[in-house]
């Protein structure tokens, strides 16, 4: 054996010439490794597999013609995209490959964008430049952004689309949650278009909290806000009993009395004979005032009924003091000038009835176990420190404490945060989505000393918030502005003058929208002055009735005086006019009976308007659109005509279809509609 080895050695390295020759051959072989590795690369293997796949298919010829060998890439330098994904993913554009079992070669699901214009990593992340499976898809030593898990994919859309899209419900929900949960009170989020995500949760001022509620309630509330109201936005700070005691002590101690001070409850009125005779009066008034449009309340069956604009009222009697409730119902502006709640102008009787009704909505269990002794100065001092440390003033106005700036880390680029700047804990997946979701799910798991409180999110909501946060990337910030679909700017709009004063007092914009500002609970009033007649508007403000047969909800009655109604109507008739046309440009007098009759034909036969609208309460049953029986009293003919010609031009987004009527048809239909002058629904029913 030894001899053989020795002989072998002598053959190849016996003398210097042989050794040189052998060494050269070995070196050559070693050098051949590099080109060999090049030749047997992964992507070539995938291209071979793809060819094998398509050759077995019916449309092999077409597919083969589309196939291009070698490394493929989508290159968009100004967007920093160099995506070589299409080197292996060869069937992305082949509709006939939608059924292929291998994900690598399947057709891309239909999206509104061209792959060649947007690339792959723009939405999916991963390493576009890579040509190996591992490097392209995963987080490796040199690449921190792996493919985004499919459930967060809408984060890709959110980088450019700063406004809501119908195709991205998850992203929209996440953004909504971020502003509704008040995340941005503490965290700054500056979007790529320079706008900031503003909080939309409206946390109350605590400057006069002692006028409103008791220390017991405050204690129980900060221990667990959701125990009081399941819909509460305030997160849980997990205060210990002692800390909650001290915080409640300070919160009550810093409160100053309202000016002018609250009046004692009007006991005589509460015991009024009429109210006592009708125990349901409170419920009725609550219903008639449409409180439930904004406030939710748990009914006897434990179901939550009502809107989410205002706070839940299930336990309001336990929370609010009677004198405060009375003051608030009478005029909310007194306690909170910035509230969204309208000033209802209830009379003394109504105030007493509603206050009594609300007082009866109690949750005695909530504060039953709270037994607090009087607060000591040390406790108040300690409470103040806790309030400062926990950033309570980021959301609430508190006497003597300034709103801290940048209390929590800015999140404008959280979606591109390098992993090496994050601290992970046990049980949190070592990826960016894992970290973000973990933080949203249970912030205190990252360290007991961290300040971020616990929000009550469902797993689905956590994923939605994570999606919205992951959309805040470096790419979103750095890409060319032309790529961006900007967010809708919410600026402040203030109607002017006496009428403006009145409109603010009534909080019209909580429900109505004017020129893009305001709520979406009630019709857009931007061009109301062109649309309606002065007389009708005055009547409506005096006694609002529902215009839509399918809706029970209507505008609440505000007990306005005639003078106030005139001010409002005059203002709206003058200011809220479209510049497109004159409301008096089509006088009713020029319509003849023949035209009216022709319009009736068109209404009932050609366009079958009665499927959605009511022209005559006796015969028609349409309930999708508003009743038109009173059109002649309500609208101006010019508006009706224009509306018939192109509804979307007057109110973008309306579901009224554009029937593409001829001028004559629209004119006749207008003539017919303007001849309808019956009263409202109630009046019609009476007849």
């Amino acid at each position: 054996m030894r001899n053989k080895l020795h002989a072998l050695w002598r053959t190849f390295f016996g003398d210097s010439a042989r050794a040189f020759g052998s060494a050269s051959v070995i070196l050559l072989l070693l050098l051949a490794i590099a080109p060999a590795k090049n030749h047997f690369s992964q992507w070539r293997h995938y291209q071979k597999q793809y060819l094998h796949l398509i050759r077995g298919r019916a449309d092999a010829v077409t597919l083969e013609r589309h196939f291009q060998g070698g490394i493929q890439q989508i290159w968009m330098p100004e967007q920093q995209v160099t995506d070589r994904c299409t080197t292996c993913h060869l069937g992305l554009k082949e509709a006939s490959l939608a059924d292929v079992s291998s994900v690598a070669f399947r057709e891309h699901p239909v999206i509104p964008h061209k792959l060649t214009e947007f690339g792959c990593t723009t939405c999916h992340r991963g390493q576009g430049a890579a040509t190996t499976v591992e490097e392209a898809h995963s987080a490796t030593e040199q690449w921190e952004q792996p493919l985004l898990p499919a459930k967060y994919i809408e984060a890709g859309c959110g980088q450019c689309h700063l406004e809501n899209q119908t195709g991205t419900p998850f992203l929209n929900q996440g953004r909504q949650l971020i502003s509704n949960s008040g995340c941005t009170h503490c965290h700054t989020i500056k979007q790529a278009d320079g706008t900031y995500i503003m909080p939309d949760d409206d946390p109350p001022s605590l400057k006069h909290i002692a006028d409103k509620t008791t220390r017991d309630w405050v204690y129980a509330w900060i221990k667990d806000p959701q125990a009081y109201a399941s819909t509460a936005t305030m997160p849980n700070y997990h205060f210990s009993d002692d800390d909650a005691r001290d915080v409640s002590a300070f919160i009550l101690a810093q409160s100053t009395p309202l000016q002018p001070p609250l009046q004692p409850p009007l006991q005589p009125l509460k015991a009024d004979a009429k109210a006592a005779a009708d125990p349901a009066a409170g419920t009725t008034l609550y219903g008639q005032s449409f409180c439930a449009s904004c406030h939710a309340m748990q009914n006897a069956a434990g179901m939550m009924v009502g809107g989410n604009v205002g706070p839940e009222l299930t336990g309001i009697g336990t929370k609010a003091k009677p004198e405060w409730l009375q003051d608030w119902v009478a005029n909310p502006n007194h306690y909170d000038p910035a509230t969204m709640m309208p000033h209802y102008r209830f009379d003394a009787q109504q105030v007493a009835t509603l206050t009594g009704f609300l007082e009866s909505k109690t949750e005695p269990d909530f504060v039953a176990n709270v037994h607090l002794d009087g607060a000591t100065p040390q406790q108040i001092e300690h409470g103040k420190r806790l309030v400062v440390e926990n950033g309570c003033a980021s959301c609430h106005e508190i006497n003597g404490i300034k709103k801290p700036e940048n209390f929590a880390p800015e999140l404008s680029r959280i979606g591109s945060k390098p992993l090496n700047q994050l601290i992970f804990v046990e049980g949190v997946e070592h990826t960016l989505p894992g970290y973000v979701a973990g933080k949203v799910r249970n912030p205190r798991a990252f360290g007991p000393s961290l300040k971020m409180p616990q929000f009550k999110f469902t797993p689905q909501q956590i994923d939605a918030v994570t999606t919205a946060l992951l959309a805040l990337t470096d790419r979103a910030q750095s890409q060319p502005p032309t790529m961006r679909i900007a967010s809708v700017q919410q600026t402040k709009y203030q109607p002017a003058g006496n009428a403006g004063q009145l409109m603010r007092d009534l909080r019209c914009l909580t429900c109505h929208m004017i020129d893009g500002h305001g709520g979406d609970m009630a019709p857009d009033l931007t061009w109301e002055g062109t649309a309606v007649q002065h007389e009708w508007l005055t009547q409506f403000l005096k006694n609002p009735e529902t215009l839509r047969p399918a809706l029970i909800r209507r505008m609440p009655k505000f007990n306005l005086t005639d003078a106030e109604i005139n001010t409002l109507a005059d203002y709206m008739m003058t200011v809220y006019q479209t510049p497109e046309f004159d409301r008096d440009s089509l006088p009713v007098s020029q319509f003849g009976t023949a035209q009216v009759e022709q319009g009736r034909q068109l209404f009932y036969s050609k366009f079958a308007c009665q499927s959605c609208h009511i022209a005559d309460y006796k015969t028609d049953k349409g309930y999708i659109g508003p009743a038109l029986a009173g059109t002649g009293k309500r609208f101006n003919a010019a508006w009706v005509y224009r509306w018939l010609k192109d509804p979307q031009a007057l109110r973008p987004g309306t579901i009224e279809p554009n029937q593409h009527m001829t001028d004559d048809e629209a004119r006749s239909l207008t003539a017919f509609l303007m001849s309808l002058k019956s009263g409202g629904a109630q009046e019609a029913m009476k007849k």
Binding site: A34, A129, A130
Partner: protein, 251 residues
């Protein structure tokens, strides 16, 4: 067969073109051999004759030659890498990715350059230890030792400037730390750092500066000093043959 090959070689050597390049012509005589060395621009740096003892492995462990070998590899691979590299902030790291993923044998090229650089640093040190422990630095070779020290510095600077070029985190922070160390020098530290980076932070100017240093200034300076280093071997009496042989010379 051997004779055919010999004849062919002779024919080539006698060719006019060949003779115009290598003027010494063929011949086994010492004159021919010495002329061949003297009249070659590269070889004339070396002496015509060398002691047999100095060519043995034990004399030098061939460390100097190996160092020069790695330097040649570095020049060749470096020039090839320059074909794929832009010294600009948005492009530099992208070029690394291109070398990794789309340039044929790009990874091999980068690795060859990187490992040769490591090997060169190691070999330079080994070479200097060998010279030091054999006492080859002593007069009359003390100046060449100094040149050697300068070449060590060149090697280290080449390594350091090359480190920034991939423009990754490792590079960025290494140079940040390095330049901050420079700024700790008394009196002129801040100025030195500014000069080094072409600004106050590691950014586009620093990248360009390091690129020019790495690819132009330092390599040419190194070649110059290598030439002097080789030439001084001849001028200082050839490779140091060892203590006993040196004493023998003196006798």
């Amino acid at each position: 067969m051997a004779s055919t090959l010999d004849r062919l070689i002779d024919q080539v050597r006698e060719n006019r073109i060949w003779r115009s390049i290598f003027r010494s012509g063929t011949g086994e005589s010492n004159l021919h051999r010495s002329l061949f060395v003297q009249q070659n621009v590269f070889l004339h740096l070396f002496s015509v004759k060398a002691r047999k003892r100095t060519l043995e492995f034990s004399a030098t462990w061939y460390l100097g030659a190996l160092t020069f070998g790695t330097f040649l590899i570095l020049v060749i691979t470096g020039v090839l890498l320059m074909l794929y590299y832009h010294p600009s902030v948005p492009q530099a790291y992208v070029d690394m990715k291109d070398l990794q993923f789309v340039v044929s044998s790009g990874v091999f090229l980068r690795n060859l350059h990187r490992w040769s650089a490591h090997a060169m640093v190691f070999l330079v040190f080994a070479h200097m230890f060998k010279v030091f422990y054999r006492g080859a630095y002593r007069p009359p070779r003390e100046f060449n030792w100094v040149i050697g020290v300068v070449l060590l510095l060149m090697t280290l600077l080449l390594s350091y400037t090359g480190y920034l070029l991939p423009w990754d985190q490792l590079a960025f922070w290494a140079v940040t730390v390095g330049s901050n160390i420079a700024s700790a020098v008394p009196v002129m530290g801040g100025k030195m750092r500014f000069l080094m980076l072409g600004g106050t932070a590691v950014n586009a100017n620093a990248l360009l500066r390091f690129y020019v240093l790495h690819c132009v200034i330092l390599p040419f300076a190194a070649i110059l000093f290598i030439a002097i280093h080789f030439w001084r071997i001849r001028k200082d009496g050839g490779i140091y043959p060892g203590e006993s042989a040196a004493e023998g010379d003196a006798k």
